[in-house]
């Protein structure tokens, strides 16, 4: 039962829009959604900019006690941050830089932000992707088992465990894992990721296990609880009853009739959780010292490294928007009613 064989099948059901008219309708829908996405990102950029530079004096924040004594450094920073210009000009300058792929230089290391961020972004994306690949089948599998035993002992046990896990903050899960597998009980896995700069952590696959496991354990309970709830609702529907009365075997009823219709709400939570992971891995990355975006963001905030914070915030926001866009698209493709509504 713990498979998602219906997934590719469901995708196979999706026919391309039949007519030219349909294609045009899809095109205009996609354009509208992309426009909205761009608008969202622009609003985020304004907020990020306002929050990081326009409030208070960034130079004073960066230098702290040294502000009064080190006049030269103050002048240098003010020049780098273009503090002599009006906020609007500075914003436009920064936005222009962002769009052309040059979000300025880091204050802490004086190296270009794009260079510093690149590797970490990839690291985080790989971490999140791996977590997703493990988490989706696990969450759906648990949900299906649970729904199959609805309100009987195994279901109750699973739901209680899931609820408990969902209640634990993810860094607690991380610390527990560390205690069990690398320090107190067993010593089979490395407690922290120690990779040299420029080397990706998955070159030593062992170091990936615990960060991925932590994320899976943190996210799978939510997803599986939602999928279970939807599955139960679908299993109570008339069409599932008819499928049973038609003589369809229970496993096919579950896979084809029920899962197919429970998948869309599943996609929505998965998207929310993945998007949350992109920003929310901060603590997990910190616990395992994983060289990802979250870790870098924490360091940059500590250093008051304004250009870095700005760039990282924008990247996280970008992931949110893209993941949600993809989820909406998938949801529509998998919901015939919505799909046919667009192409007609």
């Amino acid at each position: 039962m713990v498979d998602v064989a219906a997934l590719p099948d469901a995708l196979e059901e999706v026919a391309p829009p039949a007519s030219r008219h349909g294609a045009a309708a899809w095109g205009s829908w996609l354009l509208r959604r992309l426009g909205l996405a761009v608008l969202t990102l622009w609003l985020v950029s304004v907020l990020v900019f306002v929050a990081t530079t326009a409030l208070g004096d960034p130079v004073r924040a960066i230098l702290g006690k040294d502000y009064g004594s080190d006049k030269a450094r103050v002048a240098e920073l003010e020049a780098q941050l273009h503090l002599d210009q009006s906020p609007v000009t500075r914003y436009l300058h920064w936005l222009g830089g962002l769009l052309t792929g040059d979000p300025g230089s880091s204050i802490a290391s004086q190296r270009p932000v794009s260079e510093l961020v690149g590797a970490n972004v990839v690291n985080t994306l790989v971490l999140v992707l791996l977590a997703a690949i493990v988490m989706i089948p696990v969450a759906f599998g648990i949900a299906m088992i649970s729904a199959n035993f609805r309100r009987r002992r195994p279901d109750t046990v699973i739901q209680t465990v899931m609820l408990a896990m969902a209640a634990l903050p993810e860094f607690v899960i991380g610390i527990l894992l560390v205690a069990v597998f690398s320090t107190t009980v067993l010593h089979v896995l490395p407690a922290v990721t120690l990779s040299a700069p420029g080397v990706h952590p998955w070159n030593d696959p062992k170091t990936m296990i615990m960060p991925v496991a932590t994320l899976v354990l943190a996210v799978a309970p939510y997803v599986s609880r939602i999928v279970r709830a939807t599955l139960l609702e679908v299993l109570d529907s008339d069409y599932v009853e008819l499928a049973r009365l038609k003589g369809i075997p229970e496993s096919v009823v579950m896979r084809k009739h029920a899962l197919l219709n429970a998948i869309v709400p599943g996609i929505q939570v998965i998207a929310l959780q993945l998007a949350w992971l992109a920003g929310g891995v901060v603590l997990v990355e910190k616990v395992f010292n994983y060289p990802g975006v979250g870790n870098q963001l924490v360091d940059s905030v500590n250093n008051h490294d304004v250009p870095m914070v700005q760039a990282l915030s924008m990247i996280i926001a970008g992931v949110y928007v893209v993941v949600n866009l993809v989820a909406d698209l998938l949801s529509i493709l998998l919901t015939p009613r919505a799909r046919t509504a667009i192409s007609s």
């Binding site: 529907s237 008339d238 069409y239 003589g247 369809i248 009613r337």
Partner: protein, 603 residues
């Protein structure tokens, strides 16, 4: 579970001759000793359609699905046999039961719009079972699906097979479900109210198709429904259920000409006729739910013939005529029944009319789309005008304009000589008070969390009619009028049955002391016996208070009994109008004739 020794397919040949028989079936609620249905014996012969009739809560659907060895979650088949040939469906291991389902015993669902999977194309859904069982090849199955769709009068091109359920109309979906059930050539068919919610013409087509298929393929069919008129149209034999038991069983003619059980008679008395107006009567009290059913005869607390013994003796089905049984200890003593009992003169077409509401050149729009074209009619004091039509005819739209619920219209709606505003916000308080709207679905129109007292009091406070103590007294009075005692005063609406809720809705409308009631399909969500009592109530209100009513319905027979004048609508236009007697006795338009011909009837 009996151990099976013989291969299921080996014995199949020998069983194909014989229909299906239910013996001593009892289904109870899981974990409680409470029966949902009890003591059910039924025989279905090949090529025969048996109508299983009952009101909500009678257990008819439970009997239907138990033929497939299935009980809804929360219920359990406790005892009995379902004999299909030499096999007992209820005693077989579940793998074999599943094997029987679909191929030998098929099911057509109640509400096909929700019973077809929304994410699977209908072409695939029709052949799904055969594909899973590996019956035939992909081509032969597709061929079969096309032939099946043609048989039920649907298109069968690729484009149609590629559609989803939501892209079909209600009638089409129902026929797809029928074609799907027939495709594996089952020997037994259970149809669970398969025409609920269809227009009469569509219903007529579906019923014809179904009857023809059953007879030509020699299928034994159980047609489960609440609608006696439909049963009178299609069934060969009829079983009437009440509170989990079959109370009367016989040939169609026996049941409809010589009904012998008091419940069957009461049910027939509550049904309107097409040929003649009737004073409809409901059945007092409400159908008892499982667990609350009385001892002795389960009908004794509502039965007009009940004697003391009825409360203590459990009646058995006893033969009245050959092949005609009734479950009543007084069956020989209660005399005969006459179908024309309760007929009353039709509303007098020549009556002096004192018009209070005049609708002229009404055009209604939804956005840019014009849905009602150029409709004119009027409504006199203490008169009921019926708006009749199929779905999409505009009948409800017109009533919503009159009730102030829809604003996009042009033309005039005059109330006592002065024009009514578009939408209730543009109407004077007195206009709003004097025209009240009653909705179709009492489950949606009453706030389930408010008490009945709060619900009925509201309009009085709103329109400054009464408040406080005085209002409560008035509420009691109104509840009395709609035949609900003061006992319901403090109950929340969610505690009431559908019929009781609709009475509350009527009481709420009356609380505003209206002159015009707009009744939007007010009885279509209710059982026939409840419908009878609601209609009787409305008629009483019309007479005693002189209230005028705009009565929206799809049921022509009901029109005959309640209305004086009728507007037949089709596609947003009035097709025919006039007094009920004229229109129904000598219809001039083809459309009206077709509606009348397709309306199921018992007279």
């Amino acid at each position: 579970m009996s151990a099976t020794t013989s291969d299921a397919s080996g014995s199949r040949r020998s069983t194909t001759a014989g229909g299906i028989a239910v013996q001593d079936l009892r289904v109870s609620l899981t974990g409680r000793d409470v029966d949902v249905v009890d003591d059910i014996d039924l025989v279905l012969s090949p090529g025969e359609v048996v109508g299983l009739v009952g009101e909500s809560g009678s257990g008819k659907t439970t009997v239907g699905t138990s033929l497939l060895g299935y009980a809804r979650p929360g219920a359990l088949i406790e005892r009995g046999k379902v004999l299909y040939g030499d096999r007992d469906v209820l005693g077989l291991p579940w793998q074999q039961v599943r094997q029987l389902r679909g191929e030998e015993i098929a099911y057509v669902p109640q509400d096909p719009a929700s019973a077809l999977n929304p994410s699977i194309r209908i072409g695939k859904q029709i052949v799904e079972l055969m594909a899973l069982r590996g019956i035939g090849t992909a081509e032969s199955r597709l061929e079969g699906a096309r032939a099946g769709l043609a048989e039920v009068g649907l298109p069968n091109d690729d484009d149609f097979l590629r559609r989803y359920a939501h892209q079909l109309s209600g009638g089409q979906v129902q026929r797809v479900a029928l074609a799907m059930a027939f495709l594996p050539r089952p020997k037994v068919l259970v149809l669970d109210e398969p025409t609920t919610g269809l227009d009469v013409t569509t219903q007529g087509m579906v019923l014809d198709t179904m009857g023809a298929l059953c007879r030509s393929h020699g299928v034994a069919a159980l047609y489960v429904t609440h609608d006696l008129a439909v049963v009178a149209t299609i069934a060969d034999r009829v079983a009437v259920m009440y509170a989990g038991q079959v109370v009367e069983l016989g040939d169609r003619d026996q049941i409809f000409r010589r009904p012998s059980h008091p419940y069957t008679r009461a049910l027939l008395d509550s049904i309107p006729h097409l040929r003649q107006a009737r004073a409809l009567a409901g059945i007092p009290g409400r159908t008892p739910a499982p667990g609350a059913r009385p001892e002795g005869c389960r009908f004794h607390d509502r039965c007009p013939y009940a004697v003391e013994a009825c409360a203590t003796t459990l009646p058995q089905l006893v033969p009245v005529d050959p092949g005609h049984d009734a479950r009543c200890i007084r069956v020989g003593e209660i005399g005969t029944w006459d179908i024309s009992l309760g007929t009353v003169p039709d509303a007098d077409p020549g009556r002096q009319r004192d018009v209070i509401l005049r609708i002229e050149d009404l055009d209604v729009y939804y956005g840019r789309k014009k849905v009602v074209h150029d409709v004119s009619f009027d409504l006199a004091n203490a008169e009921v005008v019926a708006l009749v039509g199929e779905s999409g005819s505009g009948k409800t739209t017109i009533s919503r304009c009159v009730g102030g619920l829809h604003r996009e219209w042009q033309g005039t709606i005059d109330f006592e000589g002065s024009p009514l505003g578009k939408g209730s916000r543009r109407r004077s308080v007195s206009d709003r008070k004097r025209i009240q709207y009653i909705f179709q679905n009492p489950y949606l129109s009453l706030n389930p969390r408010l008490t009945i007292e709060q619900i009925v009091k509201r309009p009085m406070e709103l329109f400054g009619i009464a408040s406080g103590r005085q209002a409560t007294d008035k509420v009691v009075e109104l509840l009395e009028q709609v035949a609900l005692g003061p006992a319901v005063l403090r109950l929340q609406a969610s505690r009431l049955s559908g019929g009781e809720r609709q009475r509350v809705a009527i009481a709420r409308a009356l609380a505003a002391e209206p002159d015009v009631l707009v009744c939007d399909e007010v009885t279509s969500a209710l059982d026939v016996s409840v419908q009878g009592s609601i209609v009787a109530l409305l008629e009483e209100l019309r007479k005693s208070r002189g209230i005028s009513m705009l009565f929206v319905t799809h049921n022509l027979a009901l029109v005959r009994s309640i209305a004086a004048r009728v507007q037949i609508l089709n596609g947003g236009r009035v097709v025919e109008s006039g007094s009920v007697v004229e229109v129904m006795d000598s219809p001039k338009e083809e459309y009206t004739r077709r509606l009348l011909a397709n309306s199921p009837r018992i007279d």
